[in-house]
Amino acid sequence: MKKNGKDTLYKVFIYIVLLLLAISIAVPVGWVFLASVKENAEFYGNPWTLPKGIYFQNFIDAFQGAKMGEYMLNSVIVTVLALLLLLVIALPAAYVLARYRFKGSKLCNIMFMGGLFINVNYIVVPIFLMFVDGDKFLNRVFGSGFLLNNLFVLALVYASTALPFTIYLLSGFFVSIPKDYEEAAFVDGAGYFKTMFSIMMPMARPSIITVILFNFLSFWNEYIIAMTMLTGESKTLPVGLMQLMQAQQAAANYGRLYAGLVIVMLPTLILYICVQKKLTEGMSLGGLKG
């Protein structure tokens, strides 16, 4: 009886803490949504008041005036391409690096580990300068540049710079799988590729989903590389948002800015909530129980 009372108290305490944290997250995020339907004049008063009405014009302004629709399409293309490239390249590499010893495997592992410490923020300009030189060369040989202002190349850079983290995460998973699985497969006569694709990959599904989720977020929200590599008119969504902030500074158009913020975060929210279910399923279904 006594233990039960203590238990209830404990439960109540936990719920209060959980709810507090949930509120501290939900309220500010909800506030951005509310702010996005406020009229401009409402932004100068108390920021925590409710909007007087729903001013949808902000979104129309953002989509048309600030070309957010077009930027969104670019963002989708780059993100999807980069994710595909990343999975195709990183999955086999992570699997092999985690489970095979070969000449140079140690070096590769150390190299990718070290890559975790290379901050994209300071190599972006050297990459850019490299592309400039490359384009100069291509220009001379073929008459047109290729590397800059190219969504595919941007996606390739995204995928490449995400390699260390992704390989690190995936090989962490592959290492934990008991050797028996492969041995059983080999005994059955399966080749290396077949073993990898039909035995190991399905088992790695939860990790793959995690990788997709993490990288989706970083690609979608990334803007330093995008801003540097796309020098022309086509931009990705976050770069467009930065531009909107610049414009907002000039004309103090807060409503449009917050509409822009919502446009940037809504897809991530939706995708996250969808994947979240899969993530949970994956965790319980996947071969983690051994």
Partner: protein
Amino acid sequence: MKRKEVTRWLALGLAAVMSTTILAGCGNTDDSSKGGDDAKGDGGQVLKVAAFEGGYGAELWSEVAKAFEETHEGVTVELQVDKKIEDKITPAMKSGDYPDVIHCATGRDAGLTETITKEKGLTCLDDVLDMTVPGEEVTVREKILPGFLDTLGTMPYNDGKTYYAPMFYSPCGLFYNAGLLKEKGWEVPKTWDEMWELGDKAKAEGISLFTYPHAGYFDAFIYATLESSGGAEFYNECMTYKDGIWESPEATAVFETIGKLAQYVEPTTLGNANEESFTKNQQLILDNKAIFCPNGTWLPGEMADAPRAEGFEWGFTAVPAVSDSQKPSSFTFFEQMWIPAEGKNQDLAKEWIAFMYSDKAADIFAKSNAIQPIVGISEKLTGDNKMFYSVYDNDAAVPVMGGFASTNPVEGVSMNDTLFRAVDSIVSGDKTVADWQKSVEEASDKLREAME
């Protein structure tokens, strides 16, 4: 918005893009020479004008180009206007294809104007000043407002020769709510003593004397106080990092004035004094929570949508003089137009610059709120602009122009950090005025060594 200030994000992009264009320039001749070759070959002259698209928009340029074509028969103006004009024209310039006239201010992150200046690639404009303004009877020198032609902002080499034509000026000073002062029966202070008196009176009513958007806005303010403490020569010595100048009595007076002003700063100001929230500090003026705020003429436009106290009315005044023997002063931003020495059409380019100071051109610019520094312009202005631009007449204020002389970069040292950003520390009390002064002199020593 602060026109001089491009956020550093943008700066990154610009810097990065800038370096492409320089590098890509070599292999890119096909593209870039197009502009020149498409020109009409029927014997008419073509003037290639490249202009930075600032807060005033792009339309004023096409209109003024049309006006120029109308008054100059057989001339075609080929106009290139862009927010990143540097990116558009440098590739071509690298391959030898220069615009004839470039409108691009100093102090931009891409530093095109500074680069060309350092490479001694400018045409001297002294003979333009002696030309007659097209369609009028005065010379350009007579037409330009006094003061604009003797600063580092027009004579970059400080050798008495003009290389930049001053364009689009905008005075900075102190903004306030004229309605509030009227209602309370307070006078606009003409001296700092009157300022402190007003500060104490206002404090009794729960109003602070002073606020500022963020420390970056102290540039114009400090420039003005320097001038009004030691006069024009002293000001130039400060801007050229003369040894010991920041420890002179005149400079000490400026530091101490700001040190005292810091005690009158509205208490929440520092909390919002950053690029993200500075409009909240500007709002303090509209809400009658603070009286004065240093800013430029763009402020009323920037705050156009903001709610305001009843009876609010913009007021604008020069910064009171620090020294009794000097006049109040107001720093003026202006942009630069110049002729690259490599441009082909030098004579026509000079004609174009002279045309910029004609009433016709000035009227076109004024429609977009871009105000040319010409005699009589303040009479033509309307609304708030009239008050802003008459500051030099009404308050008998001295216009202050041109900032610090350009130097080679010095690692880890900049006046922006040491002189302007440090104001935050003075206001919060984290730094003493004496320490501030000492660090400025030290920075000045290092920058002097790096001067060209």
